[in-house]
Amino acid sequence: MDFSSINPALLIASLMVSATPILLAAIGEAVAEKSGVLNLGVEGMMIVGAVVGFIIAVNTNAPLLGFICAAIVSGIFSMIFGILTQYLKSNQVATGLGLTLVGLGLSALLGRPYEGMKSPTLRALDIPFLGDIPVLGKMLFSHDLMIYFSVFLVAIVWWFLKFTHAGMVLRAVGENHDAAHALGYKVVRVRMLAIMFGGATSGLGGAYISLARVPQWTEGMTAGAGWIALAIVVFASWRPWRVLFGAYIFGGVTVLQLNLQAAGASIPVEYLSMSPYLITIIVLVIISSRGNQGAPASLGRPFHASS
């Protein structure tokens, strides 16, 4: 067995690419769930973002614009879920699943003319000085903008939920919507905004798959990444930095096991293949085993202003 062929710098670099779509989707879903909304439509919002980002990037030759449009369109798309569940009081689980199905179908329709086309990909940033550091430069400072943005976004969400008044209102709405309503907070408005944020970041995550990770458009290309993101939110007990940690562990073990296979490790392939799921769950359960890690108390419950 020869592991010298596995270059840790390249491994970390691939890990971040592999984890970013899940991270983006999961951080948005974490905010939505913190406000008490369980949106199972992540997969659908991601794939809409993937196709919209791809279409815009191909037509304008500007991948960054593709990302922006993906976020906007997926944010609007998530409003289908928002209006149905918040105003028309439909069941969140069923509506979320419906959103996924609609997203998969809609993206297939929109994407048909773009199958097999190539997209302009996001260039890696050329960071002066930092990018020239040996090993570390390649590992951490040679990525495209979206990777840094995703980490920045986690920091913003953490700061927002923990230190801002609006963040506290959002959490209050998620913990006890009746009490929040009695205090005069606009429960439905807060939730609509949280759903829209979740849609926008899911769209970014999807676009990252079609514009950076693969990069091309193929029908059904998110292939379950949205469900992984949903699971990571739960196992990370709704905490932003743990979401980042979970996504990176998942992405990291995925990439590592592929590299181990490619390097000819004598570990049975079956164990390697299940390792990303297993290790991510075990690690997150262990770090979440202490303290109060419960789900937002109003998660998934419908809100009636009359009650």
């Binding site: 062929s5 596995i6 270059n7 390249l10 491994l11 691939s14 592999s18 779509p21 998969l104 297939a108 994407g111 048909r112 199958e115 097999g116 086309m117 190539k118 990909t121 798959i209 990770r213 693969v214 990069p215 091309q216 193929t218 029908e219 059904g220 290309m221 998110t222 292939a223 379950g224 990444a225 995925t254 990439v255 592929l258 590299n259 296979q261 490619a262 390097a263 000819g264 004598s266 049975p268 392939v269 079956e270 293949s273």
Partner: protein, 356 residues
């Protein structure tokens, strides 16, 4: 009274018109990926479209894409049978047992399962000798690799995939004794992101040729992004990646088979059969070898293709040893189909084990 009879007459005539429009035979297709994968499922769907075009109104086709292998596929097949399908093609290895189960419940519906080995009175099997195409890819890969490392993305460790690896390896080694194969199993037929990750991992390990036995074009895109890597189209031409990274391809041509089997149902002559055709009968095609391949290598590859097509050359011709060094085929001996269909071992020289 008069109006009533007019309405009744109108309804009756609409009924007759509808009956006249109804197709004689309804053919269902169950796909594991999306029809737009530009690989495996895309080619099966091209076959379906060829059936529609060939028979016109006489045949109606229906299909369901992205059907997971296993229990869920039984539901899809049952639904198709209940909707009146006379012939159902189930086009992935993992549909094997579900197909047999559903076929038992619908003895009057004919089933055709691709790449499997379980048959019944109303279940046929069919597959293509992809390993013939793999031999040609192996030859080109062995000649063209500069790092002497060839990457191979495997889906599931089933005989069909193992056979392809062995065939490619034997022919790569034949022209390049230093070549090594790095094999990665990803346990899915279709997951573009994972396929791209696997290709990237192999490329980072120094592979400058990547072969894939998965269904999407993502490994091609990853290879193109990395640069300096060659690939081969899998199951479909994947022509959008010409002239590099894709330098050639294996194309599955199911259309003639699908038309012939549908015709058999129309004629009432359908019987359970086992079909396994290769380059000769045209079920396996070799896509254009691009200018990125040196002319002499291209000529050799085409000569091999002709020899395989005419039956002069069998890709598994001895002497070939198994991985453990024991003799599998003596000099001049060719593999029998039974061994090939159940192949679960690597040939001598490949590193690693076949996951069991």
């Amino acid at each position: 009274m008069y109006i009533k009879s007019v309405i009744a007459g109108a309804i009756a005539s609409v009924g007759i018109a509808a009956a006249a429009l109804a197709a004689d035979v309804k053919v269902g297709f169950v796909y594991v990926g999306p029809v737009g994968d530009y690989g495996w499922t895309y080619e099966h769907d091209q076959g379906r479209l060829a059936v529609e075009e060939h028979f016109g109104d006489k045949v109606e086709t229906v299909y369901q894409e992205l059907v997971p292998e296993g229990a869920d596929s039984e539901r899809v097949m049952t639904q198709m049978a209940l909707q009146g399908a006379d012939l159902i093609f189930t086009t992935s290895f993992g549909y094997m047992e579900p197909t047999i189960n559903v076929a038992e419940k619908f003895p009057n519906v004919k089933f055709e399962h691709a790449t499997g080995y379980m048959r019944a009175d109303n279940v046929s099997t069919y597959s293509a000798r992809f390993y013939e195409g793999r031999a040609i890819q192996g030859h080109i890969a062995g000649k063209m690799t500069k790092t002497n490392k060839v990457g191979y993305i495997g889906s599931f460790p089933i005989p069909e995939v193992v056979r392809g690896i062995n065939s490619a390896f034997i022919h790569a080694r034949k022209v390049n004794p230093d070549v090594e194969f790095n094999i990665v199993w990803i346990y899915t037929w279709f997951d573009p992101a994972k396929e791209a990750d696997a290709a990237t991992a192999l490329i980072e390990q120094g592979c400058d040729v990547v072969l894939q036995h998965t269904d999407s074009t993502a490994p091609q895109a990853a290879a193109e992004k990395a640069g300096g890597v060659i690939t081969f189209g899998q199951a479909s031409d994947m022509a959008m990646f010409k002239p590099t990274p894709r330098v050639s391809s294996i194309i599955d041509d199911w259309a003639p088979y699908y038309i012939a089997r549908t015709q058999a149902v129309l004629d009432g002559t359908w019987t359970s059969t086992d079909t396994w055709d290769g380059i000769g009968p045209g079920m396996v095609g070799i896509g254009e070898i691009t200018a990125a391949v040196p002319a002499d290598v291209k000529a050799e590859a085409l000569a091999m293709k002709d020899a395989i097509a005419s039956g002069d050359y069998h890709p598994f011709t001895g002497p070939i040893n198994k991985q453990d060094g024991s003799v599998w085929l003596a000099a001049g001996e060719t593999a029998d189909d039974g061994t090939l269909l159940g192949m679960n071992f690597y040939v001598e020289g490949i590193n690693g084990d076949v996951p069991q």
